[in-house]
């Protein structure tokens, strides 16, 4: 068994990676803002507090349990042999990050990247469960993802696991590539969102038994669109940090990664703007925001692997498909997904991963990417659904009807997000 050897990094790369990772956390802030804005005003405080609480619990659980499984640097990992090939399925890292300060800087940076990736992944389903998913259930689901799902996926892809070694063991290009977390963050988060939507069900009154579906639009376009702008900064840094850490890219290659990220988001926004303009007569702000995010998600998979024209193409496809998929999921299959996470993160991430294989120059890379997609769809989604269904029996996901009626803020927190607007006379005018 060959121990996983991470791409070597020079001192400049190491020095660059830390500030990039600090900036990458803005992507988390952006997604939290978008989630809050796309929910209703009476659930906005619960949305933002839930984001912080889920991140907090997830990172603690990951530090205590998950990092042990995800670790790819401490040793050869847990391996079984089948059909003459090694299958590395879990890491053998120290318990509770023991000895972290003494480990090489590259390992610490990789761990920080994983913490941020987990924080973003647990936020994605939170927006889909808006207005009916209980805070305690959200926190419990974040703990489950941090302990039992994310560490394995992260190890398989970033920790030298069997997906990363597809190139070595089966001559499939460079193995499954997920430089910016399209699989570990977005597809995982998007599938979690689908499981939550299935288990919690639609919001009360969303799909009446007779007649038309009810419109439940987001409450604050400024939050949504400003969240997109903040997310751009985070995504630029995120993709560059991923290219450094997981691809071993030279610092000179980072500007092209950032340019591709921007081009992908811009093309996706332009496409969604056009599609919604044609479809509804006016561009739709919340769908355009989703289109922008879909372009960024797509760029997570391929920004550091493709040329600028290809980045535009992948963004265009994401931007055209996303609003149509949102509409299909709501109208045709009754999926009530307020933040559009299934379309934006799951579908956008899958498209990016496949596109990275289509446009990669190495032979076999397309097959490697498809194996990764098959793993996410055939193994990770059923696993998440099973775990969440079991969790739902212990901590019910859905709030009671009264709580849904008065809003999650009042029901769960005892106060609303926005102070009562008081009209008063300004004495300075007199």
């Amino acid at each position: 068994m060959i121990a996983f050897s991470a791409p070597p990094l020079g001192e400049v790369s190491l020095a660059l990676a830390l500030p990039l990772l600090l900036l990458a956390s803005l992507a988390i802030a952006g997604v939290a803002l978008v989630n809050a804005g796309l929910g209703r005003s009476r659930s906005a405080a619960q949305s933002m507090l839930g984001s912080l609480a889920m991140i907090s619990i997830a990172v603690i659980v990951f530090a205590l349990v998950g990092a042990t499984i995800a670790d790819g640097a401490a040793g050869p990992g847990h391996v079984f042999h089948f059909s003459g090939k090694p299958w590395n399925w879990a890491g053998t890292g120290p318990i509770a990050l023991n000895g972290l300060a003494l480990s090489p800087m590259r390992s610490q940076l990789a761990l920080l990247f994983e913490f941020l990736a987990l924080a973003l992944a647990v936020l994605i389903p939170w927006g889909s469960g808006a207005d009916r998913w209980r805070l305690s259930a959200g926190i419990a689901s974040a703990a489950v993802l941090a302990a039992l799902v994310f560490p394995f996926v992260s190890h398989w892809i970033w920790g030298g696991g069997w997906l990363a070694q597809l190139g070595l063991n089966f001559s499939l290009g460079s193995g499954f590539l997920d430089v910016g977390g399209a699989a570990t963050v977005h597809v995982l988060g998007g599938f979690s969102a689908l499981a939550v939507v299935w288990i919690a069900g639609p919001r009360r009154g969303k799909f009446p038994k007779e007649g038309l579906s009810t419109a439940m639009p987001g409450h604050n376009a400024v939050y949504i669109l400003f969240g997109c702008l903040i997310a751009l900064v985070g995504w630029l840094a995120w993709n560059m940090a991923g290219a450094l850490l997981w691809l071993g890219a030279a610092p000179s290659a980072l500007p092209s990664t950032a340019i591709n990220t921007l081009l992908s988001a811009a093309a996706a926004l332009a496409a969604t703007f056009t599609v919604t303009r044609i479809r509804f007569g006016k561009p739709d702000a919340s769908l355009c925001a989703n289109g922008w995010l879909a372009g960024l998600v797509t760029s997570s998979a391929c920004a550091s692997l493709v040329s600028p024209p290809t980045a535009i193409f992948t963004g265009l496809v994401a931007g055209i498909a996303m609003p149509l998929l949102v509409e299909f999921l709501e109208l045709a299959v009754s999926i009530d997904d307020p933040s559009g996470a299934v379309s934006v993160h799951a579908a956008g991430g899958l498209w990016g991963l496949i596109a990275a294989g289509i446009f990669a120059p190495q032979p076999g890379q397309f097959t490697a990417q498809l194996i990764g997609v098959a793993t996410l769809l055939g193994l990770v989604l059923p696993l998440i659904y099973l775990l969440f269904a079991l969790l739902n029996r212990v901590v019910p996901f859905r709030v009671d009807p009264d709580g849904e009626r008065i809003g999650m803020d009042l029901h769960e927190l005892g106060g609303g997000a926005y102070p009562e607007f008081v009209v008063h006379r300004d004495d300075s005018y007199h």
Binding site: F207, P217, H219, F280, T367, A374
Partner: protein, 74 residues
């Protein structure tokens, strides 16, 4: 039906894994992996249909988005 769909999806995964073990030739390999993903997609379709709310309505739905308090596009 939803559980049947979720059980079909791992079958597609194992089909994909079998493809890389059984077929050394890249074209066959890719073709069988695509078949595995197609099986998963079918399983996903069945699971989605299994989760659909029963409809007794007379019409379809009108898609609306927009922003709360504003005029949604119909």
């Amino acid at each position: 039906m939803k559980y049947a769909g979720l059980l079909v999806m791992p079958a597609g995964f194992f089909l994909s894994i079998a493809a890389i073990l059984l077929f050394p030739e890249p074209t066959f390999r890719a073709a069988f992996v695509v078949c595995g993903v197609a099986v998963e997609a079918m399983g996903l379709g069945v699971a989605i249909r299994g989760h659909m709310a029963p409809k007794t309505g007379r019409h379809g739905h009108a898609f609306v988005r927009g922003i709360e308090g504003g005029e949604p596009h119909a």
